[in-house]
Symmetry: C2
Subunit: 222 residues, 2 copies
DNA sequence: GAATGTTTAAAACACTCGTTTTTTAGGAGC
DNA sequence: GCTCCTAAAAAACGAGTGTTTTAAACATTC
């Protein structure tokens, strides 16, 4: 054993604690003691706490983006030049997201980390994610653009982020919401259930009529 | 002067710093030094940092919920017993949200604080908000229920939270998104603009077709 | 098998944190 | 005058933080 299963133990423990309590609220001593690892090991293996945080993200995002790229590859191959329908694109994204637990532990942790990364005020994490993994998102939005030619660019930009907010907010705050929902509706909700519920909502939101009273020239050169 | 404009200065400074960097990342020394106030003043006037955080929220939420309640009063009065259409309800909520800057400084700060309250893992804030201000939200959802009788209860619950996620995520992360949007689309976006864009999206999302492959009995007793 | 490089362990460092205590100031009431 | 109470200021406290340093153990290679 040994080798560097210390690194793995640190990452495994850190991602759970980060997801539960946030980055600032999780100390290195929390992590190392729970992982039964020496305190200095974090700085030895990762260099700093900030680097550890990024490593946690990389371990999720590296396989995710890779998988997403290949999924888009096969999708493009299937439609060979033709425009890919919006539903297909969303479906592919959903499938890729749901496939995360196959590689890493928990989809819940993944979504919670994403939510933290966006809400965390300090830009370092968002910048890191944008720089390292922005490509696949750019590729995806371009395909969405082709699938929805009637939506002005700015409007599509905002709607995509509306939907990003819906998904991240819901799935990252899932535990709290699940408690309320199960209390009121005696219903077990899994992430798969939520994704199934999200599908028609996202499609309808993207296809919603354009807002009224739009200043025309704003879209003239878009 | 004097009196207790110290309290106001602390609150004014704290809400901005909290909104910018989060609660854990903002120290009392940050606040008191920027507010040109003695460090001990926070504990003297508020008792603790946690109490200060709640005071910041109360200063926003007290007038907001009050305003929202009276807005719903007049709306119910106008429809005297009849069912209020969903669009009217959403419109009222949007108007009330947009009216926040009349009482307090910044709508941006308000939304950012709300976003933090939800993403912040520690439950004390969410519990505080739920306990103190849950009534008006319950009232609102009940009106939405009457306006959308065809949506199963559980489904409506989730869709409302989907939309909550959309609004909070977008408006609380507005600065970052605005940067990207303006760079790509040379377009100035105000909060009013965003609310205008959000309107049709939220309506379409609420009215989206029900998800397919639903286990029927889940809705049988809802 | 001694030497080398890598990983772990323990301790210390230099701060920062929220909170508390002590001290000083400023009016109000009589 | 003096006290009483509230507010502000200064200083100190104790705990907790990320990081660094120093020592020991381990594994590998020649």
């Amino acid at each position: 054993m040994a080798q560097s299963d210390t690194v793995t133990r640190i990452l495994d423990t850190a991602e759970v604690l980060f997801a539960e309590r946030g980055f600032a609220e999780t100390s290195l001593r929390n992590i190392t003691s729970k992982a039964r690892v020496n305190l200095a090991a974090v700085n030895y293996h990762f260099g700093s706490k900030k680097a550890l945080i990024q490593a946690v993200f990389s371990r999720y995002l590296d396989p995710f983006t890779q998988r997403f790229h290949t999924a888009l590859d096969t999708l493009e191959g299937r439609y060979e030049g033709q425009v890919i329908p919006l539903e297909e694109l969303l479906e592919t994204m959903a499938t890729t997201v749901l496939a995360v637990p196959a590689e890493r532990n928990s989809l819940k942790v993944f979504m919670r980390l994403l939510g933290l990364a966006y809400s965390q005020a300090q830009g370092h994490l968002r910048r890191f994610i944008q720089d390292e993994y922005g490509d696949v998102f750019t590729r995806f939005t371009e395909l969405v653009r082709q699938a929805t030619p009637d939506i002005p660019d700015a409007e599509r930009f905002w709607r995509l982020h509306f939907m990003l907010g819906t998904v991240i907010f819901t799935l990252s705050g899932l535990d709290a919401l699940r408690d309320i929902a199960e209390k009121d509706y005696q219903e077990q909700v899994s992430v798969r259930d939520l994704v199934r519920r999200l599908r028609p909502v996202v499609v309808a939101a993207m296809n919603a009529p354009l807002p009224a009273n739009v200043d025309e020239e704003k879209y003239a050169n878009a």
